[in-house]
Structure formats: structure tokens, C-alpha cells
Subunit: 286 residues, 2 copies
């Protein structure tokens, strides 16, 4: 690998996450150069203009041919196909990671297809926004974010170290996690809240002109419903089993609450809210 730390970095997908990563690496002088790969020239032009990348290419195989580190930052549903293209074209020493919100399918595919010891290491930085596109790239996007990194004895230790270094460099906190455990946890911490927010927003709007009745609580509760439908479609479809399980758990809690409310059971209604409050406090510490 050439100096600086990460050599020639290729970022496949120059949306919010990819462009922010480019800006964060550039701000720290951590990459010798950064090549962006996009499907649309306009996105590459924006990423070039903001300085997130040094060069932009439409062809993934061309871009990764002399890569030292490849970060796949495409939508979740395209990661597996992109992995195959990168594996076929990148040099053997290249380390590859991704940023997708689900890990089990992607890491299982990599484990089945990559040479051992594996130099693809799955990542999921818990950073983002309902904004999207390279024009919203932010070099501080990963500051303080939990960066969940695949744990597997079959990984190349050097590759694992480099991926850890990547997230530490941009300000994240690395958490090692088995892919299946990852997916079960984020189904509950992230995917379920997105589904529920979309349902709550739709239920409010179907009542007619609800705008005058909306306060800061509704805004906060439904903020994630402003995310891109196609992104959340792909995340849910690549995490079906765990999300179905989380939906069933939510359904059981809501059904119990409904029953308590229908019977005017004040103690059970209060206990439901007390459990939610305690759970949130334990989870986010506020």
C-alpha cells in the first residue's frame, strides 16, 4: 500500500454516504487519491465539484483496477452484484468494504465467493440523514457514529485492521459484530422505527387536514419517514426475517396496549408507558 494511509481509495456510489466518506478522508489527507464510481455523470460531477473525489468513472471495473481500498456505498440491494464486479477486477491486495444497513446476505455472499483469508469486510456505519445525494456530503457525517464491522475468524486480519482504521480515521467508533446479530439488532433499532414512522404518518394524513394538529412530537417521531422509499424497500427486503420478527414483537406490544385501553385498565396503560420510558432511557441514556 502506498502512503498516505489508505492509498488509492475507490468509492463505488457517490451518494450522501460515499461523498461524505470522500470528504472526510480528504480533510484528513488519508488517501493518496480518491476515485468515485457512479451510474450518472451528474452525480460524479457534483462529487468532483465539492472535492469529495479526485476523479469520477462510470465503469466500476476500470476504477478498481489499481485500488488499494474499495468502499461500496451503493444502495443495499446492489451491493452483492457490485461485490462480484469488484472481486473480478480489483488487484489481490485490495481491501473491500461496504456501508449497507444489512449485513447477513452480503457477508454470506462474500464468504461463499471471496478467496480465503477474506479481504472483504462488511461494515455498517450508523450515520446518515433523510437528505441524500453528493450535494449533501458532510466530512463530519461519521463523527461519533457507531461503525459496525463484521466479526468472522475467516477474515484476513490485515484487511480487518484496515477497515477498523478507516472508520476510526473518519471519527467513528468501531463495534465488532456477527452479521446475523447485526441484522437482528438493527431490525429493531432502525428498520422497525422507519416502518412504524411511515405507518404513523400515513394514518395521520388519512384523517384529512391534520397540519394544525401537528406538534414537535409528531415531527420528531416521523422524521425518518422522509427517507427515500427505494432505499428503505431494499433495506427491508434484505433483512426480511429479522424485520418480520421485530414487527411481530411490536404487534404484540401494541395489541396488549390496545386491550388495556379498551378495558380502561389504567395500571396496565401506565405500565406500558413506564416500560417504554425505561427502555428508551436504558437505550439512549436520556
Amino acid at each position: 500500500m502506498t502512503s498516505p494511509a489508505f492509498g488509492h481509495v475507490v468509492i463505488v456510489g457517490v451518494g450522501l454516504l460515499g461523498a461524505s466518506l470522500g470528504l472526510a478522508l480528504k480533510a484528513r489527507g488519508a488517501a493518496a487519491r480518491i476515485t468515485g464510481v457512479g451510474r450518472r455523470q451528474a452525480s460524479l460531477d457534483t462529487a468532483l465539484r465539492t472535492g469529495a473525489i479526485d476523479a469520477g468513472l462510470l465503469d466500476c471495473a476500470d476504477a478498481v483496477r489499481d485500488a488499494d481500498l474499495v468502499i461500496i456505498a451503493t444502495p443495499a440491494a446492489q451491493v452483492v452484484a457490485t461485490l462480484d464486479r469488484v472481486r473480478a477486477a480489483a488487484p489481490p491486495h485490495a481491501v473491500v468494504t461496504d456501508v449497507a444497513s444489512t449485513k447477513a446476505e452480503i457477508c454470506a455472499h462474500a464468504a461463499a465467493t471471496w478467496p480465503a483469508p477474506r479481504r472483504f469486510v462488511g461494515s455498517h456505519p450508523m450515520a446518515g440523514s433523510h437528505k441524500f445525494g453528493p450535494e449533501h456530503g458532510d466530512p463530519a457525517l461519521y463523527a461519533g457514529a457507531a461503525c459496525l464491522v463484521e466479526a468472522d475468524p475467516a477474515l484476513d486480519p490485515q484487511a480487518l485492521d484496515l477497515v477498523h482504521a478507516l472508520w476510526n480515521t473518519v471519527g467513528g467508533r468501531v463495534v465488532d459484530i456477527a452479521p446475523e446479530t447485526h441484522d437482528a439488532m438493527v431490525a429493531r433499532s432502525s428498520h422497525l422505527p422507519h416502518v412504524v414512522a411511515a405507518a404513523v404518518a400515513s394514518v395521520a394524513a388519512e384523517a384529512g387536514d391534520i397540519a394544525p394538529f401537528v406538534g414537535p412530537g409528531f415531527r420528531d417521531s416521523t422524521r425518518v419517514a422522509a427517507g427515500r422509499p427505494e432505499v428503505w424497500r431494499d433495506i427491508c427486503l434484505t433483512n426480511r426475517a429479522a424485520l418480520l420478527d421485530a414487527l411481530d414483537a411490536a404487534d404484540a406490544r401494541l395489541a396488549a396496549f390496545r386491550n388495556a385501553l379498551a378495558h380502561g385498565d389504567a395500571a396496565a396503560v401506565e405500565a406500558f408507558f413506564e416500560a417504554g420510558r425505561r427502555a428508551r432511557h436504558e437505550t439512549v441514556g436520556e
Copy 2:
């Protein structure tokens, strides 16, 4: 009525909402004096110390004897009983309002018991916080907030004007609304989001140590779950029918999503998120 505008104002309940109202009126010199009524001397002392009230009394009847305007800012479940005490003790010219999050039960009780034309006018300012207590009183709490005010031909027009003036004075935007319509709307814009946030927080916490997997989306989505359980118990119990209806609407949407996900129906999954996004945009304009 004496000058300034609202004369002797009595605020029954000096929690966040009551103390903030006192501070807002004092900041504008809009009350000749403000008496607070509380159940605990410590709360009254705090409200006195912060300047939210000029005097504090534990006895409601004593306090309202020479009131010009009474604002009932107790928890929702205590409003009806407080109304009876205020009606029996306040002078005939006094105008009375409240700030409770549900209106149908309270306004129906007032309509059945108050002399005509009625000088109790139900209010619900859409302001608040998960913080509580007079120590968090904020003179700007009502700035820009929708203040939902009962619409009913049986109201005394002077009393209605005074309550409109109250909310306009502290920076709110008055919206006239029939109590039943009010309750149906806030069941969807406020009460349902609180219930769902509590369920989501509990589902996350039951998975074990979820803290590393929590991002800003979870924090926003579940913020309202940090509210006081006894407050939300009372709000839900005083708005049962409308909240049960909102819960059923949410259950139907979530069940349809679950079915689409279980069958891998990508178009239906995307349409669900698209509907949520459009609904939120129409509702909050962002």
C-alpha cells in the same frame, strides 16, 4: 375586568405548561397579578422563585375567589374535578379555560354543568416537552404553537374572545375546532405517535444491549417515549374511542406492510414507504 388585559390570572397547576404561561404573561405585562395553585408547596416555591407567579396557594377555591381569568393546567384526568371546584368558587364574570390534550369529555362536562352562555372555553395549546415541572418553565414555550380552541355556539362570545386573546398574547396561533374533531385529530397526530414510540423503544430494549446499534433516527423516533407515564395514561384514557380507532388504522397499515414483506413484494413495500413519505411531507411540509 381590570387592566392590564387579563387582570387577576389564576393558574391551577404550575407544571411546565402552567409555569411557562405565567412567565409568558409576565414577560408581556399582560396580567395585573398571577396566582398559582399547586398540590405541593415545593412546586409553588419554584414557580415563585422563577417569577412565573406572584403568589402561590394550595387551595383552589381561595385562589379563584377574585379571579378574572382561570387557566386549568393540571393533568388531563384532574381537569373535570377541578372545573367543578372552579365553577363553584369563581365570580360570575370569570373566564375559565384549560390546556388539556383531550377536549371532548372536558367540554361535554362543562357544557352540562356551566351556566349559559358558557364562560368555560376549552383549549389545547400544542406546546410542551418531555421535560416537566416549573423549573423548566419557558416564556417562549407557546411561540408559534397551534392553540386549538373549542368552537361551540353556546359559548359566551366575550369569553371566547378573551381566550383567543390569551393564546395570541403568548405567541400562539389560534385554531377553532369542535371538541370531538379535536380528539380524533390529536389521537392521530399526537397520541398514536406516543403509543407507538413506547412500543418501539420496548421492542428495541428487549433484544438486549441495543445501545451500540442506535442512531439519530431511533433517538428522534422514540423521543416522545420519554414523557411522563402518568400523563400519557390519563391522556389515553380520556381519549379512548379516538385512540382505539387510530390504533386500528395503524394496525391495518402495519399488517399490510408485513404481508408485502413476507411475500417479498418489492413494489408494495416501496409503495408503503412512498405513501408515508408523501403523508409526512403534506403534514409537516418538509
